[in-house]
Each structure stands twice: as structure tokens, then as C-alpha cells.
């Protein structure tokens, strides 16, 4: 952990939707309180129910946010990649973290402590609007996930997962396994195996040793119950 030369952080922070229109003075204050972290693959960034460390800003690498059942079964809520923020809600209400976060690859990130983030919100109208917009997106994402779990069969959830992975490579997982997909889609690895074979028979995907080749994206989108484009 280290406090970096905060002025060098300004162009980086400006790239994030939250901070695109924040006043220069406010951004300098925020950058001055940002703390730099590096994590190794598999390292825990924070645990659910721990005190919130603040708003996390991801520069390099990939992160998964996940919940664990009392039996230790994992449910992956979301993957994050460069340019994403995470732990937004716990940064705002200063309540305990909502989920666990783990580095999937080597990760470089900054965290802005909750009190600094909330203080900036009180002073900067543009930051408030940007955060409301960002949280609206998160809410839409959560409703989408609820819809998937409640209304889409596993085959459609799997097809949608594969479409999202290839269409959002920045936040995609670099090496997916049946177990990982299962814990993201709240099902079992065996069910994922059967569903992958069904997609292969339908002609949407093809296996080439360790590669899953998406040979018909339109058909995969159809299987995912998504719009053709």
C-alpha cells in the first residue's frame, strides 16, 4: 500500500464516468486521498461484512465480486475489469461490504476512502449526478440478473454469459471453467457441461481443445433470448 504522487492520478481518474465532470479542485482533493494497492491472482481484496474500505477504482487486471453460502458454495455476482469501479454502495452508505472481492489476475487499483468520497459528493453537483447515473446502471444490471435467474432457463443464461464475455472483453474472465460458469449462473458444473454440448450440437459453438469457438454469434444471441444485434 502506498500513497502515490496524486497529481499524476488526475488524467487517470478523469477517464472514469464518475469523475469526468468533477471540478479540478475536487478531483485534486480526491486524488490526494486515494490509496494505491496491488494484488496477486487469488488474493482477497476485501471480505463481505468487513467495514467498507471505500470506492475501488480498477486500473489493471480483473476482479470478481462473489457471495458464499454457509456450505462454502460460491455465487459470482459480477466480474470487473480496467475502467470499472466497485464497492460503490458500501462506499456511499459506509455500511459493511455487500460481497467479497478477489483478484482473478494481477490487479492494480486505487481506493478512495468513504469519508473522502461522501465529502466530495456534498460539494460537487456533477459528481452527484454521475454517481446517480452509475448506480442506476448497477440497479439495471441487478434487475437483469434477477430476471435471468427467475425467468431464463440455464441454456439461455449460459448463452447470454458467453455473449457478454466476448462482447465485453475488458471485464471478461481470461480463462473460464465449467465450475466458474456454474457459480456465476447459480447452477452445477454438470448442468453447464450438458448445456455446452447442447449449444455445440445447435451449431452456436465448437470446441477446439482449450478453445470454445463461437461460430454463430447470431444463433448464440437467439439462444440467449437477446435481440439479434
Amino acid at each position: 500500500m502506498a500513497i502515490t504522487n496524486h497529481l499524476s492520478l488526475l488524467p487517470f481518474l478523469r477517464q472514469f464516468p464518475y469523475f469526468s465532470f468533477v471540478s479540478e479542485d475536487q478531483l485534486i482533493k480526491l486524488a490526494g486521498q486515494a490509496i494505491h494497492h496491488n494484488f496477486l491472482p487469488g488474493e482477497i481484496i476485501f471480505l463481505e461484512s468487513d467495514e467498507s474500505s471505500g470506492l475501488w477504482i480498477l486500473k489493471k487486471g480483473r476482479v470478481k465480486a462473489f457471495k458464499l453460502s454457509p456450505e462454502g458454495q460460491e455465487y459470482i455476482l459480477r466480474f470487473f475489469g480496467p475502467g470499472d469501479t466497485f464497492n460503490d454502495l458500501a462506499a456511499l452508505d459506509n455500511a459493511p461490504n455487500l460481497a467479497n472481492a478477489m483478484a482473478i489476475t494481477q490487479v492494480e487499483a486505487w481506493v478512495i476512502p468513504s469519508d473522502a468520497f461522501v465529502a466530495a459528493l456534498q460539494e460537487d453537483h456533477e459528481l452527484c449526478l454521475a454517481v446517480i447515473h452509475g448506480l442506476t446502471g448497477r440497479m439495471r444490471n441487478l434487475v437483469d440478473r434477477l430476471e435471468d435467474l427467475a425467468l431464463r432457463p440455464v441454456i439461455a443464461r449460459l448463452a447470454k454469459f458467453l455473449v457478454e464475455q466476448v462482447e465485453n472483453p475488458a471485464s471478461a474472465h481470461p480463462a473460464i471453467t465449467r465450475a466458474l460458469i456454474a457459480s456465476h449462473l447459480a447452477t452445477t458444473p454438470e448442468t453447464i457441461s450438458r448445456s455446452l454440448r447442447t449449444l455445440e450440437k445447435a451449431g452456436a459453438i465448437r470446441f477446439d481443445r482449450h478453445r470454445i469457438m463461437i461460430t454463430d454469434l447470431g444463433l448464440l444471441r437467439h439462444q440467449a433470448q437477446l435481440d439479434p444485434n
Binding site: 480463462a175 473460464i176 465449467r178 458444473p189 457441461s193 465448437r206 481443445r209 482449450h210 478453445r211 470454445i212
Partner: protein, 73 residues
């Protein structure tokens, strides 16, 4: 782990009990037990059939996949 090693069956030595089910089931003899833990002995022989992952009673083996979008033309 090298790039090549990423694309072989991954065996978690902390979970593997050394029961040898995967070694017996592997159709290309790519696996063996080393110090009572399953290991990929012949990575080039592995055809990624996934049988080892399916038979492992402990869920210690996983096959990582890379997603590739095939673009026509």
C-alpha cells in the same frame, strides 16, 4: 504459470486426495500420481476430453477455456 500451462487441466493439490480415478479414466494416459497427488504428466497427450474433470469425486480438476469469437471472412 506459463501461458502453455494455463491451457492444461488444473489440479488443485490441496483438494486432490490421490484416489487415482482420473489417472484410470484418462484415455490418453496424460495423467499420473506424483507423491499421491494427480498431475498432468504428458500435456501434449491431453486432448481436453474433460473425463478427468467429470470423474474427480472431489471437484479438484478443472479445464480452463479461452473464448474465441470466429469472424466470417
Amino acid at each position: 504459470m506459463t501461458e502453455d500451462e494455463t491451457w492444461n487441466p488444473q489440479i488443485d493439490p490441496d483438494i486432490c486426495t490421490g484416489c487415482g480415478e482420473c489417472v484410470i479414466a484418462c484415455p490418453t494416459d496424460a495423467l499420473e500420481l506424483v507423491d499421491d497427488v494427480a498431475a498432468v504428466r504428458e500435456p501434449d497427450a491431453c486432448n481436453y476430453c474433460g473425463v478427468c474433470e467429470e470423474v474427480c469425486p472431489e471437484g479438484a480438476i478443472s479445464l480452463p477455456y479461452q473464448l474465441v469469437l470466429v469472424v466470417d471472412g
